[in-house]
Every structure is written in structure tokens, then in C-alpha cells.
Amino acid sequence: MKFADFILPGAVSAELKAISKQEVIREMVQSLLDANGIKKEEYESIVKAITKREELGSTGIGRGIAVPHTKHPSVERLVGCVAVSPEGIDFDSLDCEKVFLFFLLVSPPDCPGDHLRALEHITRQLKDDTFCRFLKQSKTKDDILSLLEEADNNMFGK
């Protein structure tokens, strides 16, 4: 699986405005809505589901990365968005550090394989220090999209 298979190009932000965990979730789900990745009437339900998942344990996995996610019956395929917070946000991460890079995923309930393949792809790329550093330094949406494309072309994570 590649980023292009699940990241909606219209749902990518280099300047997350949110300053709290809840605001991050709302802003990112809004970006999925703006990119026509989810239905308007499902917005609150998806925010609630992701928040509930966070209550089970933070998806802030360390190294400044978080992958908030949920399964939701309203989506027919895995959809995701990316956001960078230049200042970093307290996301209750496992390593107690601020989070700068967010990948938010919403997947259909009966597709655990796609969800796992997306996590595998995201984390394999993020293990590459160069990719991680460049992503954190991204100033524009186009910067991020270029990096994701380069990653999909096997230029990182090897």
C-alpha cells in the first residue's frame, strides 16, 4: 500500500491550527470532510469515535508521531489525512513528548487488512530520519505531497 492509496491530497495541511488533542481531531476530520472523504452528517460521529479510541490509549506512538484512527461504517474505503504542527501538540504520547506529525485514518469496519497495511506503510517511512525531518520542516501542502510521493517511489524507508 502507498500513501496515494489512502491519503486524500485535499486533506493535507502543513500548518495545523489546533493547540489541543481534541482540536487536532476536529480539524483533521474537517479536512477529510472538505476533501469529500466523509459525509457531512457523519462528522460528529467520526470525531466521537476517534476520541473514544484515544481514551483506550493514546495513538501518539513516540518520536513526535501520532496516528489517530477509527473504524466507521459510513466510509466505503480507507481514507486518511496528514497534518503537521510546527509547534507540536501535547497528545498524551507514550513517550510524553509533543507530537508534530499526524496521520488520521478512517476505515470501514470489515477491513482490518487495509488499516494494518496503511499503518505498516506510514511507520516504515517514518522510521527513516530524513523523511521524518523533512516532513516536520514542511512549509506548504505541496511540500508534504511531494514527500509522500517520493516515499511512495521508495526514496525513503529502505
Partner: protein, 98 residues
């Protein structure tokens, strides 16, 4: 002087959702209770069991075989603790699959 042990075993991923984030967190949290080096290997990918990022990057799906390698003074206890989580299928049936 404490004697260092090395234990290796192939384990099967039997839970439906594989090593997803909650399972990765559970494994990492357990691994941090021990001083031994704990690694999971799938093909050419090797994960430090203390790192959720590493564990997720394995891409370990239901039905996949992974090799658990534990080296250190408390290897036996660590080995038993990690294999217990596998045997319990990471309690997937008891928790809302997330």
C-alpha cells in the same frame, strides 16, 4: 554475576487484526518491564519490541509467523511474558477492536 540467556521461538499471529496499534502498545509496554533485549523478526524486518513504531512497521497480519528473540539476564521471564500475550491473542476478543 547474572547469567545471560538467549531464547528464540517462532510465533503465529492468530488474532484477526494482527499487530495493530493497540497490540503494538501492549507489546512495547510489556517489553519495557524487562532489561533483556526483545526483538520480533518478520522476514528481513526486525523490530525492537520496546518501540511501537518498529512493531507496526513489521506489517504482521493474522496468519503471519514472527520470530521472537530475547537476550539478557531476565530473558526467561520476558520470553514467557511476551509469548503469553501471543497465546492470549492480545485479548482482542475482550476489547473493542480499535
Amino acid at each position: 554475576m547474572t547469567r545471560e540467556q538467549k531464547l528464540i521461538k517462532e510465533l503465529l499471529i492468530s488474532n484477526r487484526c494482527g499487530v495493530h496499534l493497540r497490540v503494538g502498545s501492549m507489546l512495547a509496554q510489556k517489553a519495557k518491564e524487562f532489561t533483556s533485549e526483545i526483538r520480533l523478526r518478520k522476514g528481513s524486518y526486525v523490530a525492537d519490541c520496546r518501540s511501537v513504531l518498529d512493531l507496526l512497521s513489521l506489517g504482521a497480519f493474522q496468519g503471519d509467523a514472527v520470530v521472537l528473540e530475547v537476550v539478557g539476564a531476565d530473558a526467561e521471564a520476558a520470553f514467557n511474558a511476551i509469548t503469553s500475550l501471543f497465546n492470549a491473542r492480545f485479548f482482542e476478543d475482550e476489547v473493542d477492536q480499535a
